[in-house]
Subunit: 140 residues, 2 copies
DNA sequence: ATTTTAATTGCAAAGCCTTGCAATCACCCC
DNA sequence: GGGGTGATTGCAAGGCTTTGCAATTAAAAT
């Protein structure tokens, strides 16, 4: 798989060690169909590497997020979820009534980003937003 | 103070009990200069009511937020902060480099809300947004 | 290949927040 | 004012995530 090598190269270039733990956490994220949680990554990796500690998963996620290699979002449900950045950026609407999650194109935030840039010279890091509210079906 | 009575009336009207714990938590929020955290509310109330448990603070905050009487936001720093809804809605930009917090008028999200309404018939509950990024000074 | 060195890990403890449950208490009715 | 009732509380335990520290190990230097 090409994507994983790309991320591995970026880690290596920036002076981070390529530990087996990091490789396996990365693999779990890249091969996940949906947004994956720390606990789910842990459960998956531990099957072939039982020595792994969950704090290493959290630290790896923090690193990959800080380097912009994964996006992080709280879709409700009490745990943060992750997504490979190179699989495309997008956002979500989450209905507080029924729990439905609607996917949004990245472009919905273009106007907001532009206004913040123009009026405040602020560069927002909006890569994976989750907005809560009420969906069409639940609006009585 | 008029504001507190208003909130108390709303609680009462909706059938919620006016317990001393709720009154005191409410007081702490209303009299706070800035966005206040659960721990800070707890520390303040406990001075005159040492029996209070912090889970009551969290449950009261959850109730007030659900009823739209306080807004809730994560400005970073690992704890959620609260603000009375009747003191005016607004949003924040948080610089990830220097920690600076910029206040935004509620209207910056008007366009986004409108688009979500028009294209998805979704009514977002965006009352106190915190957006992270890089401020003007930190941009090299 | 061996040594060196700092980054990384596992472990245990802690921090923030939520939740189940039994005891308490605000409010309604008389 | 004195019950009755269900909402609310305190307490203790648990869930998710972070953090300090000593031991390990990837990678660089020899
Ligand atoms: Mn996503
Ligand atoms: Mn605010
Ligand atoms: Zn819905
Ligand atoms: Zn800054």
């Amino acid at each position: 798989m090409k994507k994983t090598s790309d991320i591995i190269n970026k880690l290596s270039e920036q002076g981070y060690r390529l530990t087996p733990q990091r490789m396996m956490v990365l693999d779990a994220i890249e091969n996940s169909e949906h947004h994956i949680s720390a606990e789910e990554i842990y459960a998956q990796v531990i099957m072939e590497y039982p020595h792994l500690n969950i704090s290493t998963v959290y630290r790896t996620l923090e690193l990959l997020h800080r380097l912009g290699l994964v996006t992080e979002t709280d879709l409700g449900g009490g745990r943060v979820r992750y997504h490979p950045a190179d699989k495309g950026h997008h956002h979500h609407l989450v209905c507080q009534e029924c729990g439905r999650v609607i996917d949004l194109d990245e472009s919905v935030t273009d106007n907001l980003k532009q206004v913040l840039k123009r009026d405040y010279n602020f560069t927002p890091d909006i890569r994976h937003l989750a907005l809560f509210g009420t969906c069409a079906d639940c609006k009585r």
